[in-house]
């Protein structure tokens, strides 16, 4: 149990650092940046304390906001994602979620992929909606969300595979 907490704290710090120092500088095509820091919320233990998840997601977003000078936007997106995480689990994994046997960092199955897809979509959509905040640019928002989403999903999967926990 102790090691899980440690791993999560470490993940928290490493992901924020990577996001702030590396992924925010992509600026692919001017404005498309991946946001793989939400892996923290995705990979948070399924049976972990939910309140802790909410608070840590809020802090995660807030710190990323600090780096990007976008107070509140990432925090809101992360918070909503953390809150909806249970529902996404239920949607993607169905019954097996009830038995808490879900393991995300394993080989890529359609369930896992759909979970990551929905999670990333929710986060990015809220993020860009708050960032642009205008009905006028709704198509731009959707396009940005889509491009950034693809980017983030690819990076998330790569990172999951790269840092497969050394359980074996």
């Amino acid at each position: 149990m102790n090691s899980i907490v440690l791993v999560n704290i470490l993940r928290f710090i490493v992901l924020i650092a990577a996001q702030a120092l590396l992924f925010n500088k992509f600026n692919f095509n001017g404005y498309i940046n991946p946001h793989p820091y939400i892996l923290f919320i995705i990979l948070y233990p399924v049976n972990g304390n939910k309140n802790v998840l909410l608070i840590s997601a809020f802090l995660l977003g807030l710190i990323v906001d600090m780096f990007q000078d976008t107070a509140g936007i990432h925090a809101t997106a992360c918070l909503v994602l953390a809150y909806l995480r249970d529902y996404i689990f239920k949607f993607s994994f169905g019954l097996s979620y009830e038995y808490q046997t879900v393991k995300l960092n394993d080989s890529l199955t359609p369930e896992r992929f759909s979970f990551i897809l929905i999670a990333v979509f929710i986060h990015h959509f809220i993020l860009f909606l708050l960032d642009i905040f205008s009905v006028e640019y709704i198509w731009g928002t959707i396009l940005r969300t889509l491009f950034s989403m693809i980017f983030t999903i690819i990076l998330c999967i790569i990172i999951i595979y790269l840092f497969k926990p050394s359980k074996r």
């Binding site: 809020f58 107070a71 509140g72 936007i73 925090a75």
Partner: protein, 277 residues
Amino acid sequence: MQQIISFLIKNSYRMLFLLLLIISVSLAIQSHSYHKSKVINSANYVSGSIYSQAHKVEDYFDLKTKNEELALENARLKKLLFNQKDSIKIDLDSVNQVKKTDLVIAKVIKNCYTDQENIITIDAGRKEGLEHDLGVINSLGIVGVIDNVSNNYATVMSILNINSRINAKMKKTNHFGTLIWNGKNTGYVQLIDIPRLASVKKGDTIVTGNQSTIFPEGINIGTVNRVYIDTETTYYTLEIKLFNDMTSLGHVYVLKNVDRNEIKKLEETTEKDKEKR
């Protein structure tokens, strides 16, 4: 009270979420102060876009009145322009500020440009205060001089008329000449009797001169297109490309020089005096 507390404890997860959500959203809104106005604006955007679409259609129905309004406005502005104080004799003029030029707006109802003596008919006449020998211009340049006036209509001797004689000058050097038309091309008129002393270049602007009471000084006519020397008079003859497209005229402005009668009277008396001597 206990129920409230137990409710809060039961729903602590949801309560925590709501609390944090309120904090983060308010942060997001506060950090971008424009978000506040955007909330209102985007609400208006929905209704605003519908309104603007509807207005686009409605606009077509009053294009005509809009055009007339704009033409009237133009007349007013041109009046202001022509009545500008001459900066040199500013002290003399300021004693009694008299309007020197008045404008009447009219519409061309018949435009002829195929003959040698072209006449334009406009829909303003004696009722509007028009009379013989008033200048007619439009936004681009001069059009002609009023010939005959009836109660509601007037005919204008176009500058594309071989009998037309208008005093004009070079904008740069103030050399005078007379503007005529040789009856050939509707886009070009001729400026004759420009002295050989004048340095004329292709592209120089020609404006109306101040020797006539018909037009105020400095109304655009055209640019010099070709320069040649008249074999008989040895003066320059300039071919002028008109700013105006005489084949398509819409609204025109009739210029009324308020002092014209006074000047005419004065000149007539001088002529009479000359004859007596």
